[in-house]
């Protein structure tokens, strides 16, 4: 599992003033005329935990293979409004897996699907992996401080033409963003 506090990918904020203004003035003591405004510029953010690895134990290439249930959790969700929602999506980094031997037949990214898992404080969405677009895994309930699942199951499609044993690997990237207004 990887745990990180991440700024959301889809939102850009100006976080800091690069130059600080100063006021110089002569005062008679005792003086309380000078003020400073403290500003906490809070970016949209959340703490996320995703699996660092998902393993398909393929005993029969002619049949689909389900991975063990994976957990995904999101906490400390900070968004701009109470109506915005936190969305979790997934995209493959390549069009296909990397085969254990160069040139060997392997699975394409689209051979990976996932279920509409039961989530706490979120709605899960079934999807198919793509390397061209992020596809939705879940959308958290508006104004939820956290959402999670322990029942996200990825399935690798049947591929009867695969002839090489060993590790076929594919890296996928999670996207966390706010949607709505």
């Amino acid at each position: 599992m990887g745990t990180r506090g991440l700024p959301l990918l889809a939102t850009t904020f100006v976080l800091a003033f690069t130059s600080i203004g100063y006021a110089q003035t002569s005062v008679t003591l005792t003086d309380t005329s000078q003020t400073t405004t403290l500003t906490a510029n809070v970016s949209e953010q959340a703490r996320v935990t995703v699996p660092s690895g998902v393993t398909f134990t393929v005993g029969n290439v002619a049949a689909s293979t389900a991975a063990g249930a994976a957990s995904v959790s999101v906490s400390n969700i900070v968004l701009a409004t109470a109506t915005k929602q936190f969305k979790v999506s997934l995209q493959a980094n390549a069009a296909s897996f990397s085969a254990p031997v160069g040139g060997a037949i392997t699975w394409s990214a689209a051979d990976v699907t996932w279920n509409a898992a039961a989530w706490t404080n979120a709605t899960g969405a079934a999807g198919t992996l793509s390397n061209a677009a992020y596809n939705t895994v879940a959308t958290c309930v508006a104004d939820a401080a956290d959402c999670s699942t322990t029942a996200l199951v990825f399935t690798l499609g049947a591929k009867g033409t695969v002839r090489r044993s060993g590790n076929h690997t594919l890296v996928v990237t999670w996207k966390f963003e706010s949607i709505g207004s």
Binding site: G5, P7, F13, L15, A16, F17, I20, G21, Y22, A23, Q24, T25, S26, V27, T28, L29, T30, D31, T32, Q34, T35, T36, T37, L38, T39, A40, N41, V42, S43, E44, Q45, R47, N76, I77, V78, L79, A80, T81, A82, D143, A145
Partner: protein
């Protein structure tokens, strides 16, 4: 004859003199108040990218010069107080930081002793005390820290105005 003129209500005397005459004098009094010239930041920013951890501001400069006090043993003290018990969140009613979540370090000052402190909306809390007899004191290393607040749920600008107090202490 001597005529003394002073204060806000001027007294005057009329008399005949034989010329040339240098018998009339006027006392001029410069009433000097305790004073100083001060430079403080107009704004301090906390770029909060993780509400679960503390966020430190950039170092800010505070300088005081032209210090005029009643004696060589008096000292100029600079203090800070919050204008409210908590920040103003970007959305009404949203959870935000309290004034007490802001602290500062005992920065290194020139001709002054810095004091670490915690912001309060009640009393002024010392930030530094200038050395006795000095005409200037300053720091460019004052950093404020905003405490973690995992319950914050709203992004945007959370703001709080603080007031600086400059006073003489001692005698």
């Amino acid at each position: 004859m001597a005529v003394v003129i002073g204060g806000t209500a001027e007294a005057s005397a009329q008399t005949f003199v034989v010329l040339p005459d240098t018998s009339l004098v006027t006392a001029a009094a410069a009433k000097v108040t305790e004073s100083a010239r001060v430079t403080v930041p107009a704004a301090v920013s906390f770029p909060v990218s993780n509400v679960r951890t503390a966020t430190q501001s950039a170092a800010v400069t505070v300088s005081i010069d032209q210090i005029v006090l009643g004696s060589a043993t008096e000292q100029l003290r600079i203090s800070l107080r919050a204008g409210g018990a908590s920040f103003s969140p970007p959305k009404t009613g949203a959870t935000t930081w309290s004034a007490g979540d802001v602290t500062w370090d005992a920065a290194i000052w020139t001709a002054a002793t810095g004091s670490a402190g915690t912001l309060a909306s009640g009393p002024y809390t010392p930030v530094a005390t200038c050395d006795a007899g000095t005409s200037t004191c300053s720091t460019n290393a004052l950093r404020f820290t905003l405490a973690p607040k995992p319950t914050v749920k709203r992004s945007g600008a959370h703001t709080l105005v603080v007031t600086w107090k400059l006073e003489s202490i001692g005698s």
